[in-house]
């Protein structure tokens, strides 16, 4: 049954792809993959024939001439000779150069990057994810406010959320932080569920999902910064002493503070690792999924025999990657939470009195 479905899917794709390949000629694989992974001002859903379906999103900019709010649909679809997609009020989206992909203000032929807080695709997807996240947590939380401890345990979705929360709280946060973990668990749980929901929604190839939220460095940067500040603020006296005056031979810290320097750099490498790990994992997942799909389109130009063979392989691989990604979604959110909890736990250590 499953094989039949995959076969039919493959056949359908051949037809579409064959026509696409004939029309478009060479396929810009890199462009497709990077376009998806990077942020954009409009939400490109799909193409039907020659018509693009794009959800226009609001552009919010503060430039030298004040605040500007307009739809992203007002930018030209094609770049002009200088590589600018012209928009209103002298704004344009650069497609080349240092600011490629960003809105720039063109004054006397020079690019000026304005303060840009547009609702880009990633922001829009994040809004949707966050609303979903709030619903997923607050609706079950409502159940708990209306029940007593002696009532039977909840079933269905509430039970699932309870299981997840209990698992993260008891198995990841509590052992990593140790005593007094209750203070930190709401933040860490929020991190976990935020990343988890964004990851899962990222697997969905069409709106309302599809954005690459957690595979975006700004998002992971913010999360890592939060953890960084929490770690520093909850650092115990022992933690700071270990950094600036660790128990090592005096020569290693007195004339030239070698070890303290290393320890001090370590403060920043920990959140940096957090940031890069999540970003790279999620981005790579999206990139691989897209790259595997692109194989189909690439093979369309190499003849029908090649196409059928490679497409089957590609779809099988895609299915496998999708399943793997489901796992990765959970693991990455878990790893982020666990490492954050561990860093907090390390900062709160008190030396054992002997």
């Amino acid at each position: 049954m499953r094989k039949t479905i995959i076969f039919i899917l493959a056949l359908t794709l051949h037809v579409i792809v064959a026509s696409a390949a004939e029309e478009g000629g060479a396929l810009d694989t890199k462009g497709i993959v990077l376009d998806h992974i990077k942020d954009s001002y409009g939400w490109h859903v799909t193409d039907i024939g020659n018509k693009s379906i794009v959800i226009d999103l609001p552009v919010i900019i503060k430039s030298s001439t004040g605040w500007h709010v307009f739809s992203s649909g007002r930018f030209a679809h094609e770049a002009d000779a200088e590589g600018y997609r012209q928009g209103p009020d002298g704004f344009a989206i650069a497609t080349r150069g240092d600011n490629a992909g960003k809105i720039v203000e063109l004054t006397n032929g020079e690019e000026v990057v304005p303060f840009d807080i547009s609702i880009t695709k990633t922001v829009a997807v994040m809004f949707i994810d966050v609303i979903l996240l709030l619903l997923c947590i607050l609706i079950p939380a409502r159940w708990y406010r209306h029940h007593k401890a002696s009532d039977p345990a909840p079933k269905g979705f509430t039970g699932l959320i309870e299981m997840l929360i209990t698992y993260v709280n008891d198995e990841i946060i509590a052992p990593a932080i140790g005593k007094g973990y209750e203070k930190y668990s709401p933040y860490l749980l929020t991190c976990f569920f935020f990343i988890f929901v964004c990851n899962l929604m990222g697997l969905m190839p069409f709106p309302p999902g599809g954005g690459n939220v957690t595979g975006n460095i700004a998002i992971t940067f913010f999360l890592a910064m939060c953890t960084f500040f929490i770690v520093q603020f909850s650092g115990s006296k022992h933690y700071w002493k270990e950094i600036f005056w660790p128990e090592v031979p005096i020569l290693l810290k007195c004339p030239a503070p070698i070890i303290p320097l290393i320890e001090f750099v370590g403060i920043f490498t920990k959140p940096f690792a957090l940031m890069i790990r999540l970003f790279a994992n999620m981005m790579a997942g999206h990139a691989i999924a897209l790259a595997l799909m692109c194989i189909i389109f690439l093979m369309a130009s190499k003849g029908i025999g090649m196409l059928v063979g490679m497409t089957s392989v590609s779809i099988l691989l895609s299915v496998f990657m999708m399943v793997l990604e489901c796992l990765v979604c959970f693991i990455q959110s878990m790893v982020f939470t666990m490492l954050s909890a561990t860093f907090i736990g390390l900062a709160r250590t008190v030396p054992e009195e002997e």
């Binding site: 709030l134 607050l138 668990s185 700004a218 999360l223």
Partner: protein, 165 residues
Amino acid sequence: MDLLIPSTGLLFWMTIVFLIVLFLLWKFGFPAIVNMVNARKAFIDDSLRKAHEANEKLANIQQMSEALLQEARQKQSQILKEAAQTRDNIVGQAQEKARNESARIIAEAKAEIENEKQNAIRDIRNEVAVLSVQIAEKILREKLSDDKKQMEMIDRMLDEVAVKN
């Protein structure tokens, strides 16, 4: 937009959105659920402990009732034994008494009978004596009714006296 440089706009929105979400979930979401789960855990533990205690108590009660029953049974058998002994005693005593009484009555009756017999024998003797005197009188009168006979009598008697002498 470059892949590795965080963009300002996204960072700005992320900060706002994440802080709002964190606030909402911190205020209304996770603590409610976590506290409830902990409360339920405590409740279950408490219930288990109570059930355990109740079970223990029940076992104790059962043991106690068993012991009580045993004791009652022992007492019952003891009482029964005592009752049987008392009964045997009473019956024995009564029998003894009855035996003595009957023996006494029989003895008295025997003595009475003996007495009566003696009286009767004495009476009969007297009667017999009187009767024999009367009979002898009658016989004498018969024999001495005429003079001849009287003379004969006197003669014989004289003869006898004479012979003797």
